[in-house]
């Protein structure tokens, strides 16, 4: 195997693994795309690298010039991916991070030297977005990549992740992924529908709005600008909410197949299982699920070994998307 000049060369091209033994319906095959294999451990390495390279091409960031600062709101993975990319490229990163993320997320940000600005956990990611926008507005000299509105986010999935899935599983009938910024679903979903318009796109989300108690009213809600701009509502075929207990049950089932995946992957698998169970009689399916990250960042949650009721209760107050 050839050696690589930079760790950043290892972003993307992740493996697809069949886990049909976990399917509740023998007519539905299940495949997981292991995004935890990326260098910082999540699908967001793709987005982080694409956004930084776009900013370099646009002249917003100048490689090799000291003193350049980026600021970004993130519930974890995008911040961690950016921290890795910025460390390698010599930029200083500030991440606005809700206080109620797993401790491993903070630790990983620190590994690559990112500065953490804490936002109130009760406001969830919406609060982190608001705080980062306010801070960025006061610092025009800082680069604000803003993953929720940055076209490089869905584009990298359209150009890379979608084609990888099509290459490895051209028989795909359904695609299931978590809904966070919507970049993964928009980019991969659009690519797969262009190849085969009958592919069904399923979004899975956590009941995050239940734990968000810092909103004054529903008017504090947030829809990523890319979701509206790229016609997300028309692209998705289904959207389903998966609760923490079911997410934990499914990370345990994934472990039965040897797959060590994070809580949002458990949620996505639960969504895929619903999809499999609802197939019409006689239909065959190949369901591809994005496992956004691996389990390392969730070991402190006890997800695999703890009492499931206690784990699910703790997960209720933790942001894991």
């Amino acid at each position: 195997m050839a050696s690589h000049r930079s760790i950043l060369d290892l972003v993307g091209n992740t493996p697809l693994v069949e886990v049909s033994e976990l399917s509740p319906n023998p007519a539905a095959r299940l495949f997981v795309k292991l995004e935890g294999q990326n260098p910082s451990g999540s699908v967001k390495d793709r987005v982080a690298l694409a956004m930084v390279e776009d900013a370099e091409k646009a002249g917003l960031l100048r490689p090799g010039e000291p003193g350049q600062v980026l600021i970004e709101p993130s519930s974890g993975n995008t911040g961690i991916g950016l921290a890795l990319v910025c460390r390698v490229k010599g930029y200083h990163l500030k991440v606005v991070l809700p206080s109620n993320v797993s401790p491993e997320r903070r630790q990983l940000l620190e590994v690559w030297g990112a500065e953490i600005i804490e936002s109130p956990g009760g406001e969830g990611s919406n609060g982190a977005v608001r705080m980062a926008r306010d801070i960025a507005a006061g610092h025009a000299e800082w680069v604000f990549l803003y993953q929720y509105a940055n076209p490089a986010n869905p584009r990298v999935h359209y150009e890379q992740t979608g084609p990888e899935i099509w290459r490895d599983c051209p028989e795909v009938t359904h695609f299931v992924a978590g809904l966070g910024t919507s970049g993964t679903l928009l980019g991969i979903g659009r690519y797969l529908k262009e190849r085969n318009p009958s592919v069904q796109i399923w979004a899975v989300e956590p009941p995050a709005g239940e734990i968000v108690d810092g909103l004054r009213s529903l008017d504090d809600g947030f829809i990523p600008p890319i979701f509206d701009e790229l016609g997300g509502a028309a692209l998705l075929d289904r959207k389903t909410v998966v609760r923490p207990r079911e997410s934990v049950e499914w990370v345990r089932r994934l472990a039965d197949s040897g797959v060590f995946a994070g809580l949002s992957s458990g949620a996505a698998m639960a969504g895929a299982a619903r999809c499999a169970a609802q197939l019409p009689p006689g239909a065959q399916a190949a369901i591809v699920v994005v496992c956004a990250d691996a389990g390392w960042k969730y070991l402190s949650s006890g997800a695999w070994t703890g009492d499931i009721d206690e784990v699910a209760e703790r997960a209720r107050s933790t942001i894991y998307f």
Partner: protein, 93 residues
């Protein structure tokens, strides 16, 4: 035919419903559910439905965990024993 359905409220709406986290309404569609809620708890008016009666942009409504925007929206039928959940639109990432 109208049936009794339980509606789970997010924290942000509970104060409008006297602190209750689950309320029961009689309805045959999701549109009925939301209009019943606004009628019973006027403080929710303007947060669930727009002036033209359409679903407010920042509220997500689920029947048995499926988002109604990808079913039949306000016309989505509800059956006895269904659980309806309301959640604010929240970011991730």
């Amino acid at each position: 035919m109208a049936v009794a359905v339980d509606v789970r409220l997010p924290t942000v709406l509970r104060s409008q419903a006297g602190g209750q986290s689950i309320v029961t309404v009689k309805a045959s569609t999701i549109g009925d559910v939301l209009r019943e809620l606004v009628s019973e708890f006027p403080g929710m008016s303007g947060q669930l439905l727009n002036d033209d009666g359409s679903l407010h942009r920042f509220v997500n409504v689920y029947v048995n965990d499926d988002d109604v925007r990808y079913l039949e929206s306000l016309e989505t039928p509800v059956r006895e024993g269904d659980e309806v959940s309301l959640l604010p639109a929240v970011a991730g990432g």
